[in-house]
């Protein structure tokens, strides 16, 4: 593909699969890079949920790639066409790489609206049907640095038949070919990267076929779709990812859709995934929760089990959270349910708890506010609750990815897993 500057430099591959490296040459001028395993910055129309740029930039190490979605943008096509200078400038974003995806990963779209020639996105004003022509016209006005090609990703929601799965693989490949055709003829999209989407539901052969065929096209990377939290368990997900990755070239990044739980992220990185969307901190924020799972691998492993006060605190919370997890096991696949990686600050026990959300956390929220205050903001439905939780959760989640890379670099992945999954109920539960 013309002008493809994106380059994946792998510094380590652990146990043949987990990849550590840097994605270089990002952005139109190629000045940006992104470390892998890593995650993108999740936004609503270019804005990290609840945050203004001032509050966002209290966070020190933000991912260099911002994800925007056509479901938020499509209804504003006319405006962007008139604006002419692309979405980045329109949204007041500057120093970031823009990745444009089709759907908002935090809001599942209704099924039954995909045809051979079209897909649909849902904006604030309802459904918008996209043909490849319209999809590409949107990309030309958005002017992202990468975008995901159009795809039929409906097969994960209701155990789709083999026939439906095959159709989705075929359609997705056909959309990709058409997108690439338009792309190569578009001056506006010169230097822009296309990611191909790998489908195949839960059928291994279709997964393999989709991956193999997509890899033949001139794409810069791959989106693994239809494996999101709630659609299948991790064992199956790992199997499918492993099978797909065998068909994908080593030198191109793999982005996984809709998976964000730390335990699942760890398992998927071990299966060879490089990039994730960061919807998890957003979903936790929306349920009034603060991410609190431990990921510090610098501590002496002998002491880790014995636990200094801060760790004891976290473990204790994890156990309680774990209990509620077991009770709510039926809802395990519901992304809106609380996970064992977070604390529910609405609970009464935080009412007079004057500690920061997470001891030692350096985020704006933890440096300035206490659990009792967040509890108060949540029970009184104050808007600041979302702001402060989003700051903390974003910081915590990106901190986790930093620790994950460090663990890969220093052969401490097992230590990290122990830290994240805990020694208690969570791990046993995962093994069941």
């Amino acid at each position: 593909m013309a002008g493809s500057r994106m380059q994946l430099e792998l510094s380590r591959v652990v146990q043949g699969r987990s990849r550590l490296g840097v994605l270089k040459g990002l952005g139109r001028t190629g000045q940006h890079s992104l470390e892998i395993p890593g995650c993108l910055l999740y936004t609503h129309f270019g804005t990290v949920p609840h945050l203004t740029q001032d509050t966002l930039h209290t966070l020190i190490s933000l991912p260099s790639v911002t994800q925007i979605t056509l479901s938020h943008i499509a209804e504003h096509q006319e405006v962007l066409e008139e604006f002419k200078d692309g979405f980045r400038k329109f949204a007041g974003l500057h120093d970031t790489v823009l990745y444009c995806s089709l759907h908002d990963p935090a809001t599942p779209s209704p099924t039954g609206y995909t045809t051979t020639k079209t897909v649909s996105v849902w904006g604030s004003g309802g459904r918008i049907e996209l043909t490849v022509a319209k999809f590409m016209a949107l990309q030309k006005t958005v002017q992202p640095d990468w975008y995901q090609s159009m795809y039929d990703g409906e097969t994960w929601q209701n155990s789709a038949s083999r026939k439906r799965v095959r159709k989705s693989v075929d359609r997705t490949l056909a959309h990709l070919d058409e997108c690439l055709l338009v792309h190569q003829k578009s001056k506006e999209l010169e230097g822009v990267e296309v990611f191909g989407v790998v489908e195949g539901g839960d059928i291994l052969e279709e997964r393999v076929r989709s991956a193999r065929e997509t890899a033949k096209r001139p794409v810069a990377g791959f989106c693994l779709d239809g494996l999101q939290t709630g659609s299948m368990d991790q064992t199956l997900r790992t199997q499918l990812i492993t099978a797909m990755i065998k068909e994908l070239p080593e030198d191109k990044p793999r982005l996984l859709h809709g998976v964000g739980r730390p335990d699942e992220v760890l398992a998927c990185v071990e299966a060879g995934v490089d990039l994730f969307e960061s919807i998890f901190p957003f979903l936790a924020t929306e349920r009034g929760c603060a991410l609190s799972f431990g990921f510090d691998i610098s501590t002496d492993p002998e002491r880790a089990g014995r636990a200094p006060p801060a760790v004891l605190e976290l473990n204790e919370e994890k156990e309680t959270a774990g209990e509620s997890q077991q009770n709510g096991d039926l809802n395990r696949h519901d992304q809106t349910q609380m996970t064992p990686f977070e604390m529910n600050l609405k609970e009464k026990r935080y009412q007079d708890d004057f500690r920061p959300l997470v001891e030692g956390c350096g985020c704006y929220c933890c440096k300035n506010h206490q659990r009792a205050y967040l509890h108060h903001l949540l029970v009184t439905n104050e808007l600041l609750a979302g702001v402060l939780l989003m700051i903390h959760n974003t910081a915590h989640y990106h901190g986790f990815f930093g620790a994950l890379r460090e663990a890969l670099a220093t052969d401490k992945l097992d230590v990290l897993k122990k830290r994240v999954l805990g020694d208690g109920g969570l791990q046993t539960e995962r093994k069941e």
């Binding site: 804005t47 203004t52 001032d54 604006f83 949204a91 300035n368």
Partner: protein, 434 residues
């Protein structure tokens, strides 16, 4: 100089800016200040330490005494942070906007999380981590306006808690006790609030009761050295009652006065006459707080009438509906006409929102995320604070009347659209509009 006189009565030392404003009330500027900075000092009440400089004629040394504890320059608009938070804005953002004082509501905070918890968190300052000044109201107003089942007796305001249905009595003592726990820098007395549209004996009863409650509040204040208790002038729209209330309350040794019972739907002609009557009889060295006023015209006119402090939920509430305040009125960001308008809300505005975002982007963002509201909230607070800063600068530079003329011209398309009450009110202090 006023500062030295007041140092003898350290509970209500007033700064130069304040004095300057008072002395300019009839617009004969008295240039007392030697530096701009000095002019900006206005009032600060936790000034026990000022005794140390009581004999010192040097204004500059006074400044350094005051600065470390955050002075407030008046005239000032105070944004309202009802539940210990300013609607989606962090305390750092509020500080960056230059806000020196904001409000908390005693009724809401007394209910949730409650005075004991806030006291444990080192007061409201500690609880919300706001390092600058806080003013708390008495809780009486909310009680009467929000709680249907409330009953006022000499004892206090009796009401049923909307959270647990328990009957609660908010007495003057209780209100002060809660405010002592909140630890605000300025507390308000509990007053007997009557709607400004009510007439008859109830107004008189409420006025007398407010005076009696003031005495109970003063007696109940456990934190006189740190927390300043303001009296609230009542008396409805009745000039005689107001005057009687002023006479009584100004006999009390309080650090400041609020003008209450207005801004509740009364005619503007009645409103400004009550305001000016009050400022006529209030001591010039103490700040006057006009409660519940926040529209730009009202602010500018009432500064001219001699008011120093204002609060209102309007700028922040209206922001959440997409209404941005601009020098020419308001701009409804959610209206379709802004969908393709790529200019900032106000091209001359220096706020973070106007520096980064266009009307079109904010218009679209309203459909996707709550951050759109935060952007407008920030803009509106910036608008209010900038307006008051410009007012102060024009006063210091002796051109406040000219400022008012320019301000009105910008806000109204033509002179015949000037509200007549504003024209009359300004004429009463010798400011004529073009």
């Amino acid at each position: 100089m006023c500062l030295l006189q007041s140092a003898d009565q350290p509970a209500y030392v007033c700064g130069l800016g304040y004095t300057l404003i008072v002395s300019q009330r009839r617009w004969n500027p008295v240039k007392q200040a030697t530096t701009e900075q000095t002019c900006y000092v206005s009032f600060y009440f936790r000034v026990i330490s000022l005794i140390a400089v009581a004999g010192d004629n040097n204004k500059t040394s006074l400044m350094t005494m005051i600065e470390p504890v955050c002075t407030v320059s008046t005239p000032v608009f105070m944004p309202v942070g009802t539940q210990g938070t300013l609607k989606g804005i962090t305390v750092d953002q509020l500080e960056d906007l230059g806000c020196q004082i904001c409000l908390g509501n005693t009724y809401h905070l007394g209910m949730r999380p409650g005075p004991d918890l806030i006291e444990k968190a080192n007061g409201l300052h500690g609880f919300m981590n706001w390092k600058r000044n806080l003013l708390t109201d008495s809780g009486g107003f909310q009680m009467v306006s929000l709680v249907e089942l409330s009953e006022v007796t000499e004892e206090g305001v009796k009401f049923r808690s909307p959270y647990d249905c328990k009957e609660i009595l908010l007495s003057p003592e209780k209100s002060i006790s809660i405010q002592n726990s909140l630890g605000s820098d300025i507390m308000m007395q509990l007053d007997d609030v009557v709607s400004s549209t009510v007439t008859g004996p109830r107004v008189e009863e409420a006025m007398h009761r407010s005076v009696r409650w003031l005495d109970r509040c003063i007696a109940a204040n456990k934190n006189r050295d740190k927390q300043n208790l303001f009296a609230i002038i009542q008396g409805g729209l009745n000039a005689e009652l107001r005057k009687a209330c002023l006479d009584e309350m100004t006999k009390r040794d309080v650090p400041g006065f609020a003008i209450g019972g207005l801004s509740g739907g009364e005619e503007k002609d009645d409103f400004w006459r009550m305001v000016t009557l009050s400022t006529d009889h209030l001591p010039r060295e103490k700040p006057r707080y006009l409660m519940g006023v926040g529209y730009a015209v009202d602010l500018v006119v009432c500064v001219a009438l001699g008011c120093d402090m204002f609060d209102c939920v309007f700028p922040t509430r209206t922001a959440r509906f997409g209404s941005a305040l601009v020098p020419w009125g308001t701009l409804q960001v959610k209206h379709k006409q802004y969908a393709k308008d790529f200019k900032p809300i106000d091209p001359d505005c220096q706020c973070p929102t106007c520096k980064k975002h266009s009307r079109a982007y904010l218009h679209a963002l309203f459909k996707s995320d709550t951050a759109a509201m935060h952007h407008i909230t920030i803009h509106n607070i910036a608008y209010q604070l900038t307006l008051m800063r410009s007012v102060r600068e024009s006063i210091v530079e002796g051109r406040f009347p000219q400022f008012i003329r320019t301000f009105m011209k910008r806000l109204f398309p033509s002179g015949d659209q000037y509200p007549s009450w504003a024209v009359d009110a300004l004429a009463s202090v010798n400011v004529t509009l073009d």
